[in-house]
């Protein structure tokens, strides 16, 4: 427990000792803020026109702030996370392999599991900070409108699971190589694949299509953004996280890469 905490603390410190965490968080906020502003501005323009022209309101049926702002917001955040998380995870093992510090770390009296969890949770902490800062957007909505709070809460729960899944896959990619660029690229590629695989579901046959859309991360996030928490989705994310953490552990234990 103490070892895990020490590694967690050290990793968290080194995130903020380099500019990486600041740059990623800033870019993330700029991008999400931009998307938020766009959908919010569109919504208020349409609402304003609708007050003048009630016919329009009926036509577009867009006057629900939850439907037209909150849901796209979570959709956008999750896509931007897909781009940003690999940048947070890429250094976790790659850097240690490249500089050789992994040799010292793994000859200290720590288990591979403590090292992995320390690194995983330190990245989750940065992720949590990043996500917490986006709370500004729903707060603005609550100040200026009456969104349902349910979907906002479930949306954040969903983001948490999506983020943890991204981080676990990112760490796995980082454990494969000593090159950070390769780690980020592999993580990004795999995540994108998991994201888009449901697109081909409609082309595939019935059973295979079902499997594809079950595998897809997107499918399981939709419910959260709508305000529905389904245990099946939670189970999916937990399986996903466990699988990649387990694979990373296997890579760490595999003595092959050590020589």
């Amino acid at each position: 427990m103490r070892n895990f905490y020490l590694i967690f603390k050290k990793e968290l410190k080194s995130y903020f000792a380099s500019p990486i965490a600041y740059v990623v968080i800033t870019m993330f906020l700029i991008l999400t803020g931009y998307f938020f502003y766009n959908s919010f501005a569109l919504f208020s323009t349409i609402s304003f026109q609708a007050t003048v022209n009630p016919m329009l309101a009926k036509q577009v049926g867009l006057l629900n702030i939850t439907e037209s702002v909150v849901r796209p917001l979570f959709g956008n955040i999750s896509v931007i996370l897909l781009l940003m998380v690999p940048l947070l995870t890429m250094r976790l093992f790659s850097e240690e392999k490249k500089s050789g510090t992994i040799e010292l770390l793994l000859t200290y009296p720590v288990t591979d599991m403590q090292v992995l969890l320390g690194k995983f949770l330190s990245c989750m902490a940065v992720f949590a900070i990043m996500i917490a800062l986006t709370a500004l957007y729903p707060v603005l909505l609550i100040v200026f409108g009456q969104p349902e709070t349910g979907p906002i809460l479930t949306g954040y729960i969903g983001l948490f699971f999506v983020g943890a899944s991204f981080v676990s896959l990112g760490i796995f990619a980082s454990s494969l190589t000593e090159n950070q660029i390769i780690a980020a690229t592999v993580a990004f590629g795999l995540l994108l694949l998991f994201w888009m695989i449901s697109f081909s579901a409609s082309l595939a046959g019935q059973t295979f299509g079902d499997i594809l859309s079950y595998i897809s991360i997107t499918t399981h996030f939709e419910g959260f953004a709508k305000g529905v928490v389904d245990t099946e989705d939670i189970v999916y994310y937990l399986l996903f996280i466990t699988l990649f953490l387990f694979l990373t552990l296997r890579i760490l234990e595999s003595k092959k890469w050590r020589g």
Partner: protein, 312 residues
């Protein structure tokens, strides 16, 4: 304290260790000597449980490295080759991290770190980032992290590589001061290092141990104390001829530090087990030359090493 038995290691199908056997007694400083690629780092990585051997046995501080790696790691301090350290952390923070993770009790961490920074002369740079330090300081941080939990066994892989002569002397002094309670294995491919710091030497080449002994015994064993340095004032050509003519002399070489005539230094080597000590002086004196100096010359570890390796 450390027992290594018939250790083998394959990298793919490359045979890096071909049955290495040696042991280190408690409190001893053992020099692990060999040219680059001999298998020193490989052996040390096995002893520190970084990776397992392909075959053989190794015990450190009473624990098997394959069966109880965590127990072994608790009891060692390891300085890997080239001293890999985190750059984005201060010296003090890093040593506190190392102390904690190596199991120093929470309330003792501060003390342990202060003490080890003192010992390794790091107090001045306590708040500097490791990435900003010079190689000599980094080496000392590496040594400090190895020492911070006061381990029974120290494993140092080429601790003076890449340092300038002054830093080398400092590090050697530090290592010598560490001796006593601790058991130390120190690898090096620089020979004088061993005779300066170690009580016993294991010489390894191409994955095999080719000699184990004290530096002094090794010297004696290979050369049989039959090399002399003679300083003579006389014509060079004639001196060489006369020296070569002495019964039992195998080879005479001149050291070219002086002019061709006048004073010259000659190295006289005897055939193995032949005593020529008594025969040199009379010859010189009979010829009427001045004998300025006559002393046995020890073979350096360099010479020994070349002899041992070429004998194989």
């Amino acid at each position: 304290m450390i027992e290594v038995e018939n250790l083998t290691k394959y990298y793919g199908n490359y045979y890096a260790l071909k049955g290495v056997t040696f042991s280190v007694a408690k409190g001893e400083i053992l020099g692990f000597l060999g040219p680059n690629g001999a298998g020193k780092t490989t052996t040390m990585r096995i002893l520190t449980c970084f990776f397992p051997a392909t075959g053989g046995k190794a015990r450190v501080a009473g624990f098997d490295v394959f069966e109880e790696p965590l127990e072994v790691r608790k009891r060692i301090g390891y300085l890997p080759e080239n001293v890999p350290l985190y750059k984005d952390i201060t010296v003090e923070d890093y040593l506190e991290f190392a102390a904690g993770i190596k199991g120093v009790a929470r309330r003792d961490v501060k003390n342990a770190v202060t003490k080890v920074m003192d010992e390794c002369v790091l107090t001045d740079v306590a708040y500097k980032f490791i990435g900003e330090l010079s190689k000599g300081y980094r080496q000392r941080v590496g040594l400090a992290q190895a020492l911070v939990n006061d381990p029974e066994v120290l494993i140092l892989d080429e601790p003076t590589i890449g340092l300038d002569p002054r830093q080398i002397i400092e590090i050697r002094k530090l290592i010598k001061n560490l001796a006593g309670r601790r058991t130390i294995i120190l690898s090096t491919h620089i020979l004088p290092e061993v005779s300066m710091t170690c009580q016993r030497v294991v010489i390894i080449n191409e994955g095999k141990v080719i000699a184990v002994d004290t530096p002094q015994n090794l010297t004696a064993k290979v050369q049989g104390a039959s090399r002399f340095l003679v300083k003579i004032d006389g014509p060079s050509q004639d001196v060489m001829k006369e020296l070569r003519a002495i019964n039992g002399v195998e080879r005479v070489t001149r050291r070219d530090e002086y002019g061709n005539n006048g004073v010259g230094e000659y190295v006289v080597e005897a055939i193995k087990d032949r005593d020529i000590k008594r025969n040199i002086a009379p010859v010189i004196v009979n010829k009427g030359w001045a004998l300025l100096e006559l002393r046995p010359q020890e073979m350096s570890l360099e010479d020994i090493f070349v002899k041992l390796v070429t004998k194989e």
